[in-house]
Symmetry: C2
Subunit: 497 residues, 2 copies
Amino acid sequence: MSEYAELIRRWKEAAILGSCGGVLGWDERTYMPRNGSAHRAEQMALIARLCHEMTTHPKNGEFLTAAETSNPDDDAKANLREIRRAYDRAVKLPPDLVEELARVTTQAQQAWTDARAASDYSKFQPWLEKIVALKRREAAAVGYKDHPYDALLDEFEPGATTASIRALFADLAADLTPLVAALLASPRKPDRGILHRDFPVETQKSFGRMAAETIGFQFDSGRLDVTTHPFCTGLGPGDVRITTRYNPKHFNESFFGVLHECGHAIYEQNLPGEHFGTPLGVAVSLGIHESQSRLWENQVGRGQPFWEFFFPKAQQAFPCLSDVKLDDFLFAINDVQASFIRVEADEATYNLHIILRFELEQAIVSGDLKVADVPGAWNERFRKMFGINPPDDAKGCLQDIHWSFGGLGYFATYTLGNLYAAQFMDRVRQDLGGPQLDDDFRAGRFGRLKEWLTDRIHRHGQRYRAGELCRRVTGRELSHKPFIEYLRTKYEPLYGV
Amino acid sequence: MSEYAELIRRWKEAAILGSCGGVLGWDERTYMPRNGSAHRAEQMALIARLCHEMTTHPKNGEFLTAAETSNPDDDAKANLREIRRAYDRAVKLPPDLVEELARVTTQAQQAWTDARAASDYSKFQPWLEKIVALKRREAAAVGYKDHPYDALLDEFEPGATTASIRALFADLAADLTPLVAALLASPRKPDRGILHRDFPVETQKSFGRMAAETIGFQFDSGRLDVTTHPFCTGLGPGDVRITTRYNPKHFNESFFGVLHECGHAIYEQNLPGEHFGTPLGVAVSLGIHESQSRLWENQVGRGQPFWEFFFPKAQQAFPCLSDVKLDDFLFAINDVQASFIRVEADEATYNLHIILRFELEQAIVSGDLKVADVPGAWNERFRKMFGINPPDDAKGCLQDIHWSFGGLGYFATYTLGNLYAAQFMDRVRQDLGGPQLDDDFRAGRFGRLKEWLTDRIHRHGQRYRAGELCRRVTGRELSHKPFIEYLRTKYEPLYGV
């Protein structure tokens, strides 16, 4: 067997073991009984350690070097580039750190769930302290040029730096902040109440499932379950799972969450299964991943054509909508307002929630902000940004699961996703014709969009890095402008600004 | 660290990885989407191979020998005895066989589910052929004195042999067959129809859950889900899961299944968690395990005192029972009849179902019976034994999941469990007082029984082998007599024979 083939065999094996950890992680968040937490932490720690051992095995280094110098074809080149990157990162991490991070973050997720339910930061603080210490050790081990946060960002968005994202976000904020201010100042307001009527959970379940199937989520290769914090996880070919949470007094919470997770899942379900376990079978980055979820949730799912198809069905399913006009419904689901919860925020203010976290995390990782002071710092920044005061930590710094699983450096990818989504959607509309695409949606047909996305993005796995993929798909560097343009086009007529 | 401590550390680690496979196996049977099957087979194969590697590591052999000769205390002696047994068995198994068995049985379970649903043996036959070939290889690798079936039995019931079980079952059959014949010939019959009225699934769920909690299943350390074939699986300390299936037109199917699986689960939940991963933290054998499930399902759950407590609650939950008298209900749930499905059989004929399988499996493993001829052989034996003809393979040789997961040699432990249960229950009634125990049950108190079982059986893990445990707990060798006596005491008054 060639060195390349042997490297790939070994790399796939580690990925199969990693995907076992994926099943355990899914189970932990969906169905594991609470007393199973301590043992689950041991299981996760062991799998993390074994995966790390398999990944960093010296033989891999030898095969990698040999394969790199033996005239690889294009597929192999892409795989070797990303395996090199992952290998070089992994060998820098001490095994005990890898194991400890897995153990601590498994138990911390349970602690976070309890702390959030009780809105009691003190229940989570000791865990966050452990996690921050471990992530700082990780940053030091991986190394960085300017900021330890770079080393963490790089895990989720290969190639991204704190400075580059800061610059991009500064441009975005410069255009977004006045736009948001104008929208909030407008006297026109939708009737928000129509989304807070009675939406029975069982009906939400079947309606959400129907929508998921219609846009292209394949249920024989996936599942939809209920969790505190919704997520999507690809466990391997033929097995991609999403979750949601239901609020019987709020239509948006589950429905747009399902569309969002479906966007992730459609990406995962359309990665090339034959490349499972190698970079060619893996999503590009979290930013690109998020572009897919935000595209289906917002660009598609909050648009008029989509609802011309789905609104009559929603009225049939939910009698409480029978007296509602489509225009009023559309305005309500595109309501811009200052609010506490990121995942329920509108498309415009959402990015301010992200910028807050992006800045806060840098201070936490650098040590400028002590973990004990996070609630205070959160609330102060929040007040400055939105002019309102989080009533408690559950609606403040405890709202997100990410820190509990060690996802420091993760949040920025959400706004990157919004920007990519707008830029991709611009291009889709050029390629497939904007009006024709709207006609598709009006008829409940989402296949052409899905095929375009699969052809341009999903099927390539990590063949191209995010920046190159963006240039290849859209012909341009990533910019905040298509997104701002999209927001203006949507919101200015609604709010008359 | 001493050799013993190091051995235990390594053994526990393999057990933790094995318990990851446990989670994947549970998921596979409960929630995995059907297209996930191929990848799951790869995951299971890898975990099986890695566990086997960890278990059979030459260092384990060295530490084991060193520990055996360094004056171990009683705990260590018991652990070393069983680790020696498992190690010697494991090192005889070729790694590729271990991996292939895990891979094939994972996919075969999906094939079995489909074949059973379609009652089409041809869909399962190629898988069973593969499994039988692999299990024959396993028997040859492990070695045996008299019959290859010995090597397979020994996996589930350490120390048992084909000859010893055959002798025990012959004694049992000699007493059981005329008893069953007399019961079947009796003109007295219960009104079976009362158990086939309308039992809404949601109500069955809450009623079963209430019963499970009442007898001692801890839901914060476990779950109850729905599967085609009910099972119990201990995934580690604090996480023991059971499943059931609901039939809206049959009360027994789920209810007694839940009691049965609770019996297994109460055993698992009361093993000493601090010994997890070592023999002292593991159940003795499947026969002893089954004694616990049959004890709660039958000795307790089909008895009058139990229903004096639960029947009024059942009448409240299920209006269809409101006109039923307790005596008629008790007669109906203790109905003895020739029937096709083992798991729905009464306590007397149940053992004939087992004897059929026990004999058939020996012929399959020896090669006397070809896999292609299993349905014919099954139906012929069934007709001879019960005087009725299985209408299709779903109600015949396709009814059980066991062969699909490689469980050849497993069935005998069910009847061993019945015999142990009767002998244990005799002893409990001596120790705690029979009438006082009945009073407990009448008042819905099951704690004293559970504590007795935990004290005498659960907490010891594998400190004693099944035979020794039986002698220690009951003062006697295992015999079929207490079981026959139990059946006579219960059935003769009901049937007037």
